[in-house]
């Protein structure tokens, strides 16, 4: 019997003040000082960028039910837009370039979101592939985007925000975590408001939503716009805080699938799920290859490890979809409900369970 989950507006932000406070203390107090450069630069910063992209895709696919296979294109638009704003208008402070890059990504998202009114399901998913290939082609073809660098690769300059140079792993991490927390907070507020409810209405029963007066096109375009904005900003973090040099091939179809896997594994329509999924996708392959190398030593070369890793991830996705379609977050919630019964509010007296579909409204 799946425990009755709570409604959208009892989101975890308001429900557990303590939890959020502890999270902030760790994020700003503990990690920047104790974390090694490897942990900060190779694990946490990519995790934060991918988590923000996953939150963005979750708004579109998890909440609004519009499947997109082209999210990597918006990562790329964000990265290249920020690079060009920063390069061609030097007097713009970087944070403004970041927001403008998000807006450009949102605009591109709107354009490729237009077909969503007439198309549904796979047809829409395939049309988002048009966005993926077109953006990737445009970024390599037109030299202007990469400042006419012959190979199309952009070198991200060192960031300066308010005079402070963001160099060094700790500062890059703090910059990323601040951007991600602010963006996620605003997204949670949007999802808890009427627009968030409209997303779910369009996802669960588009016809009923239309009859009661939900503006379908505006809601879908808002979902595409907000989603692309968040993914665009994640693209800026990926290019400026993490890799620091970026080529269009880095935002290929595998990247789109990676973000999609994150929200499937983490949990559709769940912000915490997006973070959990991103943590899993970034850390799991590293752990697997380290454990594999440690246990099996050099019996197997890194290629065999890589391939077995691919099987394990693929198998896990299928297993999860069968065992818990609502993703890892549902498992974590179920575990925590058993381990910390006293902390959770006593659930209302259980009404006979109903076989309810795999939708979930909790943030």
């Amino acid at each position: 019997m799946s425990t009755p989950s709570l409604s959208i507006n009892a989101n975890w932000l308001t429900r557990s003040r303590v939890g959020v406070a502890v999270l902030l203390v760790i994020a700003y107090g503990v990690i920047p000082f104790t974390g090694s450069e490897y942990l900060l630069d190779a694990i946490l910063t990519p995790f934060l960028a991918l988590a923000l992209a996953a939150v963005g895709l979750n708004v579109l696919t998890g909440y609004a039910g519009q499947v997109s296979l082209g999210s990597a294109a918006f990562l790329a638009v964000g990265a290249y837009a920020a690079y060009n704003f920063n390069l061609r208008i030097p007097e713009l402070p970087f944070l403004v370039s970041l927001v403008l890059a998000g807006i450009v990504a949102a605009a591109v998202g709107l354009v490729f979101g237009l077909p969503s009114l007439r198309l549904r399901g796979f047809y829409l998913a395939v049309s988002t592939l048009a966005a993926q290939f077109f953006v990737q082609w445009a970024l390599t073809k037109f030299g202007w985007f990469s400042n006419d660098n012959p190979s199309g690769v952009i070198d991200a300059p060192t960031l300066t925000i308010g005079g402070v140079q963001i160099s060094g792993a700790a500062r890059r991490y703090v910059f990323s975590v601040t951007i991600v927390l602010i963006a996620t907070f605003l997204t949670v507020r949007l999802l808890a408001a009427q627009s968030g409810r409209n997303f779910i209405a369009v996802r669960d029963h588009e016809i009923a939503a239309k009859v009661i007066g939900v503006p379908l096109l505006r809601t879908k375009l808002l979902a595409f716009g907000v989603s692309s904005f968040l993914i665009g900003v994640a693209g800026v973090l990926w290019a400026f805080a993490y890799l620091r040099t970026v080529e269009p091939a880095g935002f290929n179809l595998d990247r789109s699938f990676q973000i999609l896997f994150i929200i499937i594994i983490g949990g559709l329509a769940s912000i915490r799920g997006s973070f959990l999924g991103a943590a899993f996708i970034v850390v799991f392959p590293l752990l697997l290859s380290r454990v594999g190398a440690a246990l099996l030593g050099n019996v197997f070369d890194s290629g065999v490890l890589e391939m077995s890793q691919r099987i394990v991830i693929g198998g896990l996705i299928v297993g999860l979809l069968i065992a818990e379609p609502r993703g890892l977050i549902a498992l974590v919630d179920r575990l925590s409900a058993r381990i910390l019964p006293k902390l959770r509010r006593p659930a209302p007296q259980p009404i006979s369970p109903q076989n309810y579909h795999s939708q979930k409204g909790v943030i």
Partner: protein, 296 residues
């Protein structure tokens, strides 16, 4: 002046490579038509089939025996996929099933490379590819052979669907799974048969594409060539897969040769998708796809 001969050559080349796209698209249609699942793992199955065949041939197994063994392996793979992955997910929304096939494609790609290694293999089907010169227009022997094979396969499927009992069962399940169930069709057997057929299509497409590209990891990327075909022809129609393939093949090549230079070349990757998308906005369920009647 407009070089007609060259135009014909590009067109014929486009149509013939379009047939190769249809080969992959048919695998998708078979499974989507009867179970509503968009099997994104079709590409990985294609790679697995080609890799199995070529590895057997390289280990000295004679041609026909290797072909039979590969067919057996793919049939087994098809049935296992249906049994292990799709049956437990049978009443999940189509998007969950689509994502399951994504996960599945990772598993198959990993298994293929673990089992047969990651080297590149040449695959010679014994068709030398010196082109015929038909009135100055070069037509490739291999593509003609591939077109013949694809044509034969489509005819085979058309007959199979129309005149055999199992074919009838396929069409019944495609129309309405519950009605078919009610009539007493054992769905699991039908789906197992469907996945077997898809396995066979994967072998044929795998060998032809493998001969064309060489058997290697990027073989599974061929799937991306088939998606616009499905969008144009409709996800649930074999005829759509063929006509869509021809159209996409021709449009892709003509666009690259004639329109490409204005964009600086390399537009093939997205041209097909944009054409399919444009067509879709006019007819949301593709050329032959059934128009979904929204039941309130």
């Amino acid at each position: 002046m407009f070089d007609y001969q060259f135009f014909i050559e590009v067109l014929v080349g486009g149509l013939l490579s379009g047939v190769m796209y249809s080969l992959v698209a048919i695998g998708f249609v078979l499974i989507y038509k009867t179970s509503g699942v968009l099997n994104f793992a079709q590409g990985a199955m294609l790679l697995f089939a080609a890799l199995t065949f070529v590895s057997l041939v390289e280990r000295g197994v004679p041609f026909p025996l290797a072909l039979l063994a590969t067919l057996a392996v793919m049939v087994l793979l098809g049935i296992t996929i249906e049994r292990v992955i799709l049956r437990p997910l049978v009443n999940q929304p189509p998007i969950t099933l689509f994502m399951a096939t994504l996960g599945l494609s990772y598993v198959i790609e990993g298994a293929a490379q673990l089992l047969w290694g990651a080297q590149v293999h040449g695959l010679d089907l014994g068709i030398n590819d010196t082109p015929f010169n038909v009135a100055g227009v070069f037509i490739s022997q291999f593509d003609l052979f591939a077109a013949a094979v694809a044509g034969a396969m489509v005819a085979l499927f058309a007959l199979f669907f129309r005149y055999t009992r199992t074919g009838l069962a396929f069409r019944a399940v495609a129309d309405d799974q519950f009605a078919a169930l009610a009539v007493g069709l054992r769905l699991p057997r039908v789906w197992a048969a469907v996945w077997t057929a898809a396995g066979i299509v994967a072998v044929v497409a795998g060998l032809l594409w493998g001969a064309r590209l060489g058997v290697q990891f990027s073989l599974s990327l061929v799937v991306l060539k088939a998606l616009p075909v499905l969008v144009l022809g409709g996800f649930d129609s074999i005829a759509g897969a063929i006509v869509g393939g021809l159209l996409i093949g021709a449009i892709e090549k003509l666009a690259e040769v004639y329109v490409g230079p204005f964009f600086g070349g390399g537009i093939e990757a997205w041209a097909a998708y944009v054409v399919a998308l444009g067509f879709l906005l006019v007819r949301p369920s593709g050329l032959f796809g059934q128009k979904l009647v929204e039941r309130a």
